[in-house]
């Protein structure tokens, strides 16, 4: 099965060369099937550490830099890999059915290579290399196909996230130069770093991942990037690109530096809850559709980070399912926002009133996605938020109890702003902007349907995600 690990990266990379929508969709489909196939033939290979990859590939690349081409997949990375290949496939299909651009599709494939590479990398330096690959293609997607203010937004995105990744570079080599190895399997099994080094490295790494996630107060690049990005760019950005940050925090920062994590966890928890509350409050005052969804991402990622900050198995499970659910639901929300903005040429909530009157199906799907996003039990968004709050409560002590209560209040805020969104957009008399707009076309429905189904499926059967991840999460919790 090790060839699948390479193929899942190589197929999109080769597909990108052709700069054709049809080839891109084909390559994305093959990559999706390959990534699903990674779950077959699982075994822990006799490993006893916290990372027990089902399949591994380990070849030397640049010995002079401690860089090995070491890939592997386990229960924590698998759901994210599949989510990435799925969303890329849906975006490519969307571009195929709508009037998309071949170069844009090729860039999405390059981004896919980088993101999947991040999730598969079991070598710290390789992880960093893949982390960097995503940067410029995403810049090009925003700067080349975005809205009116795309250039400043793209520049802000790329400079902010580069700031994060250079700190990642420093953090990675603080670890590597002290430990003498960059192998994540070894590094997470034997914690050989002294406490002070762990603390310094953890702070560097957590700032790096906090920029990507993004964690308040390092989130300010996100709303601009989302507002200006083209639909597929927003979907990939929110759906999977942000997960590189939370995945990195869980796998690399917490996994390799548990002592550092223990000392910084309360700070992370406080910031995460602040993100939830700030995200919610800002959303209440938003008047632009994509900006509102972008800020809701800040809140949702706050729950994921809160889960990680508790450093418990329950918290990690919350983070994992929260990641996946956010990818599905926010991906869908951005598809819908893009569809609405393409039709009405405005994202202003006050001009979108009465959508239900003119496009009931579109409005219905938007309602479904918004309700899923606010965390209604039975839909995917519920589990991540509930588990995060429970994990914080179980952690005990006054600080974590207060954080749990505040996070729960933040969840209620989410309900408030999404219901406000639905009230503003779907109800009332039809405004001029929404008159005469079309219902979803088949291409859009094909791209959305899997996300609609998954939002319900993961909500009803969270074991879809947690089942494969259970062992990996249990052995990881300190």
């Amino acid at each position: 099965m090790t060839w699948v690990l390479v193929a899942v990266l190589a197929v999109p990379a080769v597909g990108a060369v052709f700069r054709s929508r049809a080839v891109a969709a084909g390559a994305a489909a093959i990559a999706f099937l390959l990534s699903v196939a990674l779950a077959t033939g699982r075994s822990d290979g006799g490993l006893t550490g916290p990372i027990r990859p089902w399949h591994q590939l380990d070849v030397s690349w640049v010995p002079g830099l401690n860089l090995r081409f070491h890939l592997g997949v386990d229960g924590i990375s698998y759901p994210l890999v599949v989510l990435t290949t799925l969303l890329t496939l849906l975006c490519c299909v969307y571009l195929l059915w709508t009037d998309g651009d071949g170069t844009l599709a090729a860039l999405l494939l390059v981004i896919e290579v980088g993101i999947v590479g991040v999730f598969l990398a079991l070598d710290l330096v390789l992880f960093f290399v893949f982390f960097e690959i995503v940067l410029l293609p995403m810049y090009a997607v925003i700067a080349g196909w975005g809205g009116a203010g795309r250039r400043p937004a793209a520049r802000k995105f790329v400079l902010y996230t580069l700031f994060g990744s250079v700190l990642l570079l420093v953090g990675v080599f603080v670890v590597v130069s002290r430990a003498g190895t960059a192998d994540l399997v070894v590094l997470s099994a034997q914690h050989m770093l002294p406490a002070d080094t762990q603390l310094a490295a953890f702070i560097l790494l957590s700032i790096a991942f906090a920029v990507k996630s993004p964690l308040w107060p390092l989130h300010t690049w996100l709303p601009d990037a989302h507002t200006e990005a083209p639909t597929v760019g927003s979907v990939i950005l929110a759906g999977v690109l942000l997960k590189m940050g939370t995945y990195g925090l869980l796998r690399v920062a917490v996994g390799v530096l548990p002592d550092g994590a223990r000392r910084v966890a309360p700070v992370l928890g406080v910031l995460a809850v602040t993100a939830i509350l700030v995200g919610g409050l800002v959303c209440l005052a938003q008047t632009e559709l994509k900006r509102l969804i972008a800020y809701s991402s800040v809140g949702h990622m706050g729950f994921v980070l809160l889960g990680i900050a508790t450093l418990t198995a329950t918290g990690f499970e919350a983070a994992l399912i929260g990641n996946v659910a956010h990818g599905i639901i926010t991906g869908l929300l951005f598809f819908l926002a893009g569809a609405i903005k393409d039709r009405t040429h405005t994202g202003d909530l006050s001009e979108l009133g009465g959508l239900r009157e003119t496009a009931p199906y579109l409005s219905g799907i938007l309602g479904y996605a918004a309700i899923a996003s606010l965390g209604l039990p039975g839909l995917a968004g519920f589990w991540g938020e509930a588990f995060a709050v429970i994990a914080a409560l179980r952690r005990g002590g006054p600080l974590w109890t207060v954080l749990a209560v505040l996070a729960a209040l933040g969840g209620a805020l989410a309900a408030a702003y999404f219901l406000r969104l639905l009230y503003r957009v779907t109800h009332g008399a039809a405004r001029p902007a929404v008159v005469g707009i079309g219902e979803p076309v088949p291409g859009e429905l094909v791209a959305w349907a899997p996300l609609v189904v998954l939002a319900l499926a993961v909500g009803l059967v969270p074991a879809l995600v947690l089942g494969v991840a259970q062992t990996a999460v249990q052995v990881m919790a300190p």
Binding site: V62, G64, L65, L136, L159, V170, F173
Partner: protein, 466 residues
């Protein structure tokens, strides 16, 4: 005293190249391409012979108590690099008719560079560096209306050479030695005079002029912008390499026991260079000036690994490795600018708008080189260059400088990206630019090298290991 002529062979060949270029111009006046061909063959031969000699045992000559000319593995690498850079610059120069002396002067500069690699004492080192620099004053002044730039270059250069010589003289006064090995011995044992400290700082400061490190950088932007483009390419690659090699040899071979003074001096130069270079580059709107200021910043990254508190092979290897990757990318950038713009003028960055439509391959190469200099994929060579420096700094416990380097990389991206994005700006369709084949060959060579070392940086890292 007997001479080892085999060891001297690369230097002979380099000098012969210059003479041959001169004679070829006398025999066939006005046949610029013939003269260029002779120079190219000479440069190629110099490089090949340097490598062949370097594969053998270490050879020394001009020895008294210690040797002034050491032909070891590292020297061979340096000589071959100078020869390759000269070859590339010759190729970039071909399309435009040149004065006959042009190739002669390039050959002279190459001779200086080749000998520099073999230098075993401070006098040889400084003389070789001067031989490398002297022809460049004239080459910079070749373009009409750029005498000011050449005069600035000349004056700053002369002052800095005087400073370096003063430093060498003070060291000689303090230790009685000019050979690297004997300097080390004298500095290790003797009581260190304040004079020696001053000598170390002055010597390094004088040499840092050649790499255009702040505060000895002011000559670079006008000289680059005023010179013919191939000469600017030579200034930013070969001339900078000369400075790096000189500093490397002096810091690690000659002044190792005085590293407690060397390290902070180089740290100050490195931090100032990268920060000032990047900040000023942000404000540039001419392509060559942008490249000039960015090369000031790059000098900072190049010097940074030498600022570790303890001198070590790792720092030297990192500096050499970064330098090599920088040279490949910088040569690619200048080659692409020449391919896009012809010879005379780099022009404003805005003039490059839509270049991908006029010359997709050349513009692609320029974008790759710029992104590489910024240190990001797809310019993997640049990414690994950055990794090499940060890794070396953290391995030697100089973490604060690693953070400074890392943050400067963010500043750097801002202007590299601005220039690279301009290439893709939408413009009305325009006629395709034709690229002369020697320029195309040099550009392809540099770009292929950048891609290859991007995927296999181990080639560079293995070559720079002591």
């Amino acid at each position: 005293m007997s001479f080892d002529h085999v060891a001297l062979l690369p230097a002979y060949l380099a000098a012969a190249t210059a003479v041959a270029a001169f004679l070829a111009d006398l025999i066939a006046p006005g046949r610029g391409s013939a003269v260029a061909g002779v120079t190219a063959v000479g440069a190629l031969a110099t490089g090949v012979v340097a490598i062949l000699v370097g594969r053998g045992p270490v050879r020394r000559t001009f020895c008294s108590a210690d040797c002034s000319y050491v032909a070891d593995h590292r020297a061979a690498l340096v000589a071959a690099l100078f020869a390759a850079l000269t070859l590339a610059v010759v190729a970039l120069s071909v399309p435009v008719p040149r004065l006959g002396e042009y190739y002669f002067l390039l050959g002279c500069a190459m001779t200086g560079g080749v000998v520099l690699g073999y230098a075993g004492d401070l006098i040889t080192l400084i003389v070789a560096l001067e031989t490398l620099t002297l022809p460049l004053y004239i080459l910079v002044a070749l373009k009409r209306g750029t005498v000011d730039a050449a005069v600035t270059f000349f004056i700053v250069s002369v002052v800095s050479t005087a400073v370096a010589l003063l430093g060498a003289a003070l060291l000689y006064a303090g230790t009685g030695a000019v050979h690297f090995g004997r300097l080390v011995a004298a500095l290790e044992t003797g009581h260190r005079l304040p004079l020696t400290t001053a000598g170390v700082v002055l010597l390094l400061a004088g040499l840092s002029f050649k790499v255009a490190a702040v505060p000895f950088h002011a000559w670079a932007p006008p000289a680059y912008d005023g010179a013919p483009l191939p000469v600017a390419a030579f200034l930013s690659t070969a001339s900078k390499l000369g400075g790096v090699i000189a500093i490397l040899y002096v810091a690690l071979d000659a002044l190792r026991p005085a590293y407690d003074i060397v390290a902070p001096t180089i740290a100050v130069l490195a931090v100032l260079s990268m920060t000032v270079g990047n900040l000023v580059a942000l404000r540039q709107d001419r392509m060559v000036r942008l490249l000039a200021w960015s090369s000031v910043a790059q000098a900072g990254y190049i010097l940074a690994p030498l600022a570790a508190r303890v001198p070590g092979a790792a720092g030297a290897a990192a500096t050499l490795g970064y330098t090599f990757l920088y040279l490949v990318l910088e040569l690619g950038a200048f080659g692409a600018v020449i391919a896009l713009r012809g010879d005379d003028d780099g022009g404003a960055i805005a003039d490059y708008a839509g270049a991908v439509r006029r010359a997709p391959w050349a513009a692609g190469a320029l974008a790759l080189a710029l992104v590489g200099l910024a240190g990001l994929p797809p310019g993997l060579a640049g990414l690994f260059a950055k990794v090499v420096v940060v890794r070396a700094l953290l391995a030697t416990g100089t973490g604060w400088l690693a953070v400074v380097v890392a943050l400067n990389a963010v500043l750097g991206l801002a202007y590299y990206l601005r220039a690279a994005a301009t290439l893709f700006a939408p413009t009305p369709a325009a006629a395709r630019t034709r690229v002369p084949w020697p320029v195309a060959a040099a550009l392809v060579g540099a770009t292929v090298a950048a891609v290859v070392v991007g995927f296999a940086p181990q080639l560079v890292l293995a070559a720079t290991q002591p």
